[in-house]
Symmetry: D2
Subunit: 184 residues, 4 copies
């Protein structure tokens, strides 16, 4: 079982979140995480075709997906959409921004609409929100995993709880994908 993590990152914070998602995926026996930053993988169509699930990641800039992730989506649609090659793949998403809320929801909605247009099945976050900064889902989102990063090095931000939230999403996607492909 292969799970791709396709993401954009401006300054390394979303990349760190992507890495945490990958670690969560690999907690599940038989699941392999394939991490694909879009800036370095402009046309990963064959790799993605082999995957059972695709998890999308983007910074939230100005209340929506980064232009680079959006360009990947447009590029991806041309070769795969007309034959609905991603139909029934599992999909999920994560996003990071400087503000706590930061209109992050709108980025996740953008990913889920893209996934729906490709006939994919969307998996969110089954975690209660907490206002304790040390807890998973301290930010309080469910459509996907959210993180908040200060204007500091990715070594120290996003904080541990946000990375654990990201890992939880990765693990959940892997478990869901496993169940779904076992049922074929």
């Amino acid at each position: 079982m292969k799970i791709a993590i396709v993401y954009d990152s401006g300054y390394g914070h979303t990349a760190k979140q992507a890495q945490a998602v990958a670690e969560g995926v690999q907690r599940v026996e038989g699941a392999e995480a394939i991490v694909l930053p879009v800036a370095e993988n402009p046309e990963p169509w064959d790799t993605l075709q082999d995957c059972d699930a695709i998890i999308f990641g983007s910074p939230t800039y100005n209340g929506s997906l980064s232009a680079r992730l959006k360009k990947f989506m447009e590029d991806a649609t041309r070769p795969v959409w007309s034959s609905m090659k991603w139909r029934n793949k599992i999909a999920a998403g994560f996003t990071n921004s400087g503000a706590m809320h930061g209109d992050k929801l709108n980025s996740l909605i953008g990913m889920s609409l893209f996934a729906a247009q490709h006939g994919m099945i969307w998996v969110g976050l089954d975690l209660f929100a907490s206002t304790n900064p040390e807890d998973k889902n301290r930010i309080g989102g469910w459509l996907g995993a959210m993180a908040q990063s200060d204007n500091a090095s990715p070594d120290i931000t996003p904080i541990k709880s946000d990375l654990e939230t990201a890992a939880h999403l990765g693990q959940r996607v892997a478990e869901t994908t496993k169940q779904f492909i076992s049922g074929q």
Copy 2:
């Protein structure tokens, strides 16, 4: 395998769409559709707990879910959310309005956010859009099934293609649910 269709309808048009969704569900061997208009089923918690999937339906009024469907969501959350009883149930949605676009997307987003908060897995519509009024998905939505109704009797509106779109969604949800529970 049981699939609930929980919906609100103001004048019978969304009810007709709900009926079409139910017919689509029943095309799949082993799938039973349970149709629950919220106005007549204020507390269907036990019935819903027995279901493997829940499909939500609402008219789009003023660009969002009807107050009655929203009240059902709030009522449902109290008994089921704190123990995440709907976790991993399959979810989907449909909506109807008088205008072609009519901000229907926002109602489907409202349903998908509700489903995500409950840990459900969202299934959309794997149909290309068409501008031929006789074709399925003539309106062009993917997060769920959309219908458009004129100010006329539910006997004649929404039109056949919108009902076939709704049935397609029901069938797809049943097939997806079947695969998902087979993999447990």
Copy 3:
């Protein structure tokens, strides 16, 4: 110049936010705030017709507007929409929820779509986000004012910075409305 604040509140937290919005409105010379909780004002059509602006407020429950505020919207639409009586009134919104993010954005989007359908003009929050809990816009939203409330008395939550954010929105709406009606 009259500015209505039409809101729903489940446990008093959004009511407190509404009060702060009203205080912000009244900072502007010549502006009168009229506070209308929907539960106690089921049909305030004449009062609203006299107002130059309407600010909507709702808790975010399950990722969208409360059923009670939505019901107000549906009720309001019947008497005023067909003659577009609210056309060119200024509109704005605020929302409160238990989680920091809590999908609050979707409630504000619901309000702004409602306002757009009524031909109203939408004013958001001209405040940079901060991650300092003592600063205005500590949550980081712009389409309207956001607040976060713990499971505690409205006497202590939402915190001061969220109330100042709400007051800032009220003041901004009053200033914008003043300019807009002066230009007639």
Copy 4:
């Protein structure tokens, strides 16, 4: 009074819609429309600073703003956001896609969130929806102007009613801007 129309267009259809918006703007005495396709105007900061209103336009690709318009937004934010240079400018939006619904709403939401983050004031469409293809707002949107284009030359698609809808938005933005700046 100057009103910029900043848009992206893939195949000329959204460009035609932009032209109609410009014609609507120029119906208002004293209003000058400045049409800026982003592909040819990568850094129009000084021109935009001189404008009283900015109308954004984009095709809806995969349920959201085009990557090119999003890149413009990210580029614009750097020079203008930190000093909130666009605060209180009037904003509006239009979008075009191949399907009738086509998740166009989400593109307009993306524009309105961007505008809100910049402290702009949002003006939508004060037009009732119609299901008569010859009428303005035949598609049925309000947050901005929507158009639908077939896979054909921009000479014949979008159709006249969609262009009239676009022109109506342009005129409305010009009238609103005029009133707003007269009131300063």
